[in-house]
């Protein structure tokens, strides 16, 4: 699954970040890395863009970019 599939109240772990180099570089700089836990923290009327929370950070992503982030559900 990818970030866009994450529902409210679910916590996920980042498996891989794909996509063009500048997207990966940008996300890396913001501290979005493999292994981190992510939640969906806000959505807009249109369902795009959405905000994801990683720890205390909140990052806005358009769905076009969010599909590049592969995640898995955390079971704990």
């Amino acid at each position: 699954m990818t970030l866009t599939d994450v529902a409210k109240k679910q916590t996920c772990r980042i498996l891989a970040i794909k996509g063009p180099d500048n997207l990966r570089q940008r996300l890396t700089a913001l501290g979005v890395l493999r292994g981190q836990r992510v939640r969906l923290s806000a959505n807009t009327l249109w369902g795009n863009p959405r905000t994801y929370a990683i720890g205390r950070q909140q990052i806005c992503l358009r769905n076009e970019d969010a599909v590049m982030v592969e995640v898995e559900l955390c079971n704990d």
Binding site: A16, I17, K18, D21, N22, L23, R24, Q25, R26, L27, T28, A29, L30, G31, L33, R34, S41, A42, N43, T44, L45, W46, N48, P49, T51, A53, G55, R56, Q57, Q58, I59, C60, L61, R62, E64, D65
Partner: protein
């Protein structure tokens, strides 16, 4: 010891409170916004301490030294070309890990640094304040608490800076253990003569660095990056970042916890501001409230100023003998300048609201809420801040578009910015809405602003279809934490803006009023003044819009600066009366309400003022776009005013 000047550069992530700290250190007046990228070029300020002059440079907020964005390049090139004597690395105590990633780069490069842990009060309130001494020992350099809002840690910080400048402590030698393939690549690069940090940076940035890389080194970098990509699914930059965070994780483990959760208050605020269904209505409601408050609250002090100005006019009129001197003072100066001065409270209020939105962190959330709308017309959420700033003044707003990287999106944002009604146009609306729609003034003004926004979107849509497209830049933005605006920096900011407005009154508007008065007074004894002649000559052009020669003249004068429009109306309508009440009565008698509305629409849409034209020319790099902006404005204004007048005549 002889006095010396030392340069200290402030460096840190966006929204770490760097600019507030800079303000506190230098006492300089400039804006601090809670939105990534407000400081695009470095600012400077000085301070004396213990007989040493410290020159502080405020660099743009960046996340990394090796990612190829405009701000990052500015900071990286600055550090490389004019190395400061010392770097003050500012960290946000509430988000230490991410902030420390930049620190590890500074340490790898062995740049002389002192660390200031900012926003400690926030972190303390959440019980996540790091132990500065512990962190300092682990990193091997001075780590101090700091507070951009209050001077409580200032002396200690300054003492340490001066101490470090006089007798620098031993530079720590930081070597992060990266993943083994990365280490192999680094070894190969170092064999070509690069330092370790240079090799790291070359890999991390894909070879785009400030120092010189020879062609063979460049080729090797590309080859290594490709190889790493093959071994792992991750890019070199990702692998290196993982190494950095691994190192930081170890540090944090030793020096205090890294907080995970948002506080209840933050959570609660975001659950409303970013609510899927409520967020957007709340945003529109807040905008409406802002304009309503600007009008209603501003009316009280405006009345006092008006009363004072008209009392001064009457006092001068009765005290001076009849003649030209009395006329120039009373009908020229006081009528013109007083007519604009009345709007100072409105301008101050509007800037206060915009500054509060920016500093609290709401502006970034608004960008998030509006991104979808913006993307429909070829813009993105980041265009939102410059557009809202346009409500204050289009000149800094157009400069703020530098945060938008994609040239086409930036150009469109620049060209539509003049449709965001700046505060100079506010006096015209306040006057006209007050005259013709006294009961519904706030609503009419809100409508005018909305019209400007709709026009901006329409034009953006057309432009985005006509200007050739390049690849769309994605919208990746960090939401800053909610922060209570600091009264000190709010006051500094508003005081600054009020000062701008007043100095304009003292300059452009003073000269404009006098010029208008001259044109109106001479030739003496003739049937018609120069001004009337000019007005009558051009009036046929504006007659279909319901404007008389007075309005024609006022609009002409607005080419210089929009504030002059009201000053001109005051001068041409005055005819011996000295107050706004008199002007309002005269206008009510001379114009239909529909024409009043049309005049507001024309003022909203027609060409930008001289300063804005100059800044459009500078930021787009050509007169072509400045000319297009002027023509587009004039055509839209005439058309819009025509429709407004014709349709409005049916209703009023």
């Amino acid at each position: 010891m002889t006095e010396r000047v030392f340069t200290v550069a402030l460096l840190g992530n966006p929204n770490c409170g760097k600019t507030s700290l800079f303000n506190l250190l230098t006492g300089s007046r400039q804006r601090t916004g809670n939105m990534a990228g407000v400081t695009v070029t470095g600012r400077e300020g000085e301070r004396e301490h213990q007989g040493v002059t410290l020159k502080f440079v405020d660099l743009p907020g960046i996340y990394s030294l090796s990612h190829n964005r405009v701000e990052e390049r500015v900071a990286r090139d600055y550090l490389f070309e004019t190395p400061p004597d010392l770097i003050l690395n500012v960290l946000d105590a509430g988000n230490l890990s991410r902030n420390l990633a930049l620190t590890t780069q500074l340490l790898e490069q062995q740049l002389p640094s002192v660390i200031a842990v900012n926003m400690l009060d926030e972190a303390e309130a959440q019980g996540i304040a790091p132990d500065c001494d512990e962190l300092g020992q682990l990193l091997g350099l001075p780590v101090l608490p700091s507070d951009g809002r209050r001077p409580r840690f200032l002396d200690l910080l300054l003492d340490t800076l001066v101490g470090q400048l006089r007798i620098p402590s031993q530079q720590p030698d930081l070597a992060i253990d990266y993943e083994k393939h990365v280490e192999q690549s680094l070894t190969q690069l170092m064999a070509t003569g690069l330092n370790r940090w240079q090799a790291v940076q070359a890999l991390e940035s894909g070879g785009d660095v400030a120092f010189v890389l020879h062609d063979d080194q460049q080729a090797l970098v590309k080859k290594q990056i490709k190889q790493l990509e093959n071994y792992h699914d991750d890019s070199a930059a990702q692998l290196i970042a993982e190494g950095r965070y691994g190192f930081i994780h170890g540090l944090m483990h030793n020096s205090g916890s890294d907080h995970e959760e948002l506080t209840f208050a933050e959570h609660w605020l975001d659950s409303i501001a970013l609510n899927r269904w409520l967020g957007f209505p709340v945003f529109v409601g807040l905008l409406w409230l802002m304009f309503e408050a600007t009008f209603t609250l501003g009316a009280y002090p405006a009345d006092w100023i008006d009363a004072t100005v008209s009392a001064l006019g009457q006092w001068l009129a009765s005290g001076l003998p009849d003649g030209l001197l009395r006329d120039v003072l009373v009908d020229g100066l006081i009528a013109g300048v007083g007519g604009v001065l009345v709007f100072l409270p409105n301008v101050v209020l509007l800037f206060t609201f915009i500054a509060i939105m920016e500093q609290s962190g709401y502006m970034a959330r608004a960008a998030f809420l509006t991104d979808r709308l913006m993307s429909r017309v070829g813009l993105h959420g980041k265009a939102f801040v410059p557009l809202v700033m346009g409500f204050g003044c289009n000149v800094p707003a157009i400069m703020a578009t530098r945060t938008i990287e994609e040239p086409r999106a930036r150009l469109i944002t620049i060209l539509i910015n003049p449709f965001m009604s700046c505060s100079a146009r506010l006096p015209v609306y306040v006057l006209l809405a007050g005259v013709f729609f006294a009961d519904r003034a706030g609503t009419v003004m809100f409508g005018i602003y909305i019209l400007g926004i709709l026009m901006a979107f329409t034009v953006a849509l057309i432009l985005s279809r006509t200007i050739p497209t390049q690849h769309d830049e994605s919208f990746i933005m960090e939401l800053p934490p909610w922060r209570f605006p600091s009264l000190r920096s709010l006051c500094l900011h508003v005081w600054d803006k009020a000062g701008d407005f007043l100095s304009k009154i003292g300059g452009v508007i003073l000269v404009g009023s006098l010029l208008i008065w001259l044109l109106q007074t001479f030739p003496q004894g003739a049937d018609q003044s120069f001004l009337e002649q000019l007005g009558h000559f051009l009036a046929p052009l504006f007659a279909p819009l319901g404007f008389g020669w007075q309005e024609t003249v006022a609009l002409l004068s607005g080419f210089i600066a929009k504030e002059v429009i009201v000053a001109t109306l005051a001068v041409v309508y005055q005819m011996g009366e000295h107050d706004m009440v008199g002007l309002q009565a005269a206008m009510l008698a001379g114009m239909a309400p529909a024409a009043g509305l049309a005049l507001m629409v024309f003022t909203l849409l027609y060409m930008p003022c001289l300063a804005t034209i100059a800044v459009i020319r500078r930021e787009t790099g050509s007169w072509r776009w400045a000319l297009i902006s002027i023509l587009m404005g004039l055509v839209l204004a005439w058309g819009g005013a025509f429709i407004t007048y014709r349709v409005g005549s049916l209703f009023f």
